[in-house]
């Protein structure tokens, strides 16, 4: 059955072996499923699809990169012929073309999800199906989004041009927000398709890199690239062998990608030197400060709390205020943090992380009963299975403390 679906005996065999390996690891831990044979077939099919997908992706990527390389070589040759002064790739017609495309795909008159869909479709290496899976919508719905966005670009005459100076700050802001949305979608630790999610982060970083090459003096672009590199550097340490979320303080810092952190630091410094004080630069400063600490207890929480204060002045969202509360708790103690978190209780009543934060601060203040109640509320609201597992563990601990 599997062989017919895959059209290749070797593939089917490989997939079934993979499935048995997964079963050997999981069944002792989670129990044997009701219908083991069906479980194996389903798992094998899933593995096979994963493998096929990554093979296809590599093939398509190799081809796209070869094409891009050829284009860039051509541009270089042409520039060499013309004049040495025009040799800078960032000034080439291809660079212009790419900038135009980025700005058009991320036009603020398009809905944010349409910007993401267009950007990934026209600038990225992902197929519509992959983008759809990453955003948990059907392939048809994702394709429809792209079609609608293209129709609006045409009908409303969104110019296929690099924006005029007067429009540049707002237009650039929309490009950066779109790339960050793509990155965050890939970074969220869900049990979804891990491969596609990693690909989304890589794609956002790649596009931000292109943007920084093309606009080397834009501090916010540098700040966003720095921020994403610094977050992505921690990817391997954020989830443990069982797929459970590991908090920043508990992460194995030797698993952090030091090369990515060094690049993040250099980019942050460069953005600050260009007098960047925007929201991405300030967030990069915070991430860089975490990256600097070799051990969690070495973290300079005073500086981080200061940076959050700057961020709160730029962005009055309750989520930023909540993050600031966490930093203040670390810098000045859980009591000070709890007071700030409680200020956000009303706007963030339906947000699981408000309750998880309050729970953690109450736990540290030794108020186990209140902590347990807050963990319960957080668990009711959390949708992500990895986060739910973490919260359930903490809830059990708090209940045990309450009794003890």
């Amino acid at each position: 059955m599997l062989t017919r679906a895959l059209g290749d005996l070797d593939r089917a065999e490989e997939a079934v072996q993979d499935a048995y390996a997964i079963a050997l690891e999981r069944w002792p831990r989670d129990g044997v499923p009701a219908d083991p044979a069906a479980w194996i077939v389903t798992a094998a099919r899933r593995r096979a699809i994963d493998r096929l997908r990554s093979e296809r992706r590599f093939a398509a990527r190799a081809e796209a990169i070869a094409r891009l390389d050829a284009l860039e070589r051509e541009a270089r040759d042409e520039a060499d012929r013309d004049d040495a002064a025009d040799g800078d790739l960032a000034m080439s017609p291809i660079a212009d073309e790419r900038l135009r495309l980025i700005f058009t795909c991320c036009h603020p008159a398009l809905a944010p999800d349409a910007r993401v869909a267009l950007t990934l479709r026209l600038l990225g290496g992902l197929t519509t199906g992959e983008v759809a899976r990453a955003f948990l919508v059907s392939e048809a719905a994702m394709a429809q989004r792209v079609v609608r966005a293209k129709a609006k670009i045409r009908a409303a005459r969104i110019a296929y041009e690099i924006p005029r100076d007067a429009d540049l700050p707002a237009r650039l802001g929309s490009v950066l927000a779109t790339l960050y949305l793509v990155f965050n979608e890939g970074y969220a630790a869900t049990a979804g398709d891990a491969l596609v999610r990693r690909e989304l982060c890589a794609e956002a970083i790649r596009l931000a890199r292109v943007l920084c090459l093309l606009m080397p003096d834009e501090p916010e672009a540098l700040g966003l690239l720095a921020l994403m590199r610094l977050h992505d550097a921690r990817r391997a340490a954020r989830v443990d062998a069982h797929g459970a979320l590991v908090l920043l303080a508990d992460q194995d810092r030797s698993a952090w990608d030091r090369g990515a952190i060094a690049e993040g630091h250099a980019l942050t410094e460069r953005a600050l030197a260009l007098h960047g004080r925007g929201r991405y630069v300030v967030q990069a400063v915070i991430a860089a400060e975490h990256g600097r600490a070799r051990r969690a207890e070495d973290t300079d929480w005073q500086r981080i709390a200061g940076a959050y204060e700057q961020l709160a002045a730029l962005d009055d969202s309750p989520v930023v205020a909540l993050n600031r509360a966490v930093a203040v708790a670390m810098a000045r103690g859980p009591e000070a943090g709890l007071a700030l978190a409680d200020e956000q209780a009303e706007p963030l009543a339906g947000y699981h992380l408000l309750h998880a934060t309050r729970a953690d601060l109450l736990r540290r203040l030794g108020r186990a009963g209140e902590a347990a109640a807050a963990y319960e509320r957080a668990l009711e609201l959390a949708a992500n299975p990895v986060e739910r597992r973490f919260l359930a563990g903490r809830l059990a601990e708090a209940r045990a403390d309450e009794r003890g």
């Binding site: 809905a111 129709a151 670009i153 409303a156 296929y160 007067a166």
Partner: protein, 129 residues
């Protein structure tokens, strides 16, 4: 005395209509325009609401939303027709309209009808993608 006559219709029926039905409607509008030529000062057909962008200015910051004006608290209070190069330029003017800071301004492209015999307009590469 001048009056503004605004036309409301279910745009999906217009989009889904057969070419014959659309031709019939166009002929009816042409007949109306001829009949009313002494009193009509101007008028345009608008592109569907899916092409609209709503502009608001709050605390000096320009906020754009994809789609038409949707709230019911504000009422239509006036209009301008501008002729500019592209959507960014139109949005730029929309944001300068004083009431953009209190209410909002919907920017909707006006339908362009091909002159008979003219080539179909060509569109940008992004839209072809």
């Amino acid at each position: 005395m001048k009056y503004l006559l605004t036309i409301y219709a279910d745009e999906s029926t217009w989009v889904d209509a057969s070419p014959e039905d659309n031709a019939e409607l166009m002929a009816a509008y042409e007949a109306f325009t001829r009949e009313a030529s002494d009193v009509v000062l101007g008028g345009e057909a608008l592109q569907p609401t899916t092409t609209a962008t709503t502009v608001r200015v709050r605390d000096g910051e320009r906020l754009l939303t994809d789609g038409p004006f949707a709230e019911t608290r504000e009422q239509l209070g006036g209009y301008y027709v501008v002729d500019v190069a592209d959507l960014d330029a139109a949005i730029g003017w929309a944001a300068k309209i004083p009431d953009a800071a209190n209410g909002c301004v919907e920017v909707r492209p006006i339908m362009e009808f091909d002159a008979p015999g003219a080539d179909a307009p060509s569109h940008d590469a992004a839209a072809r993608g």
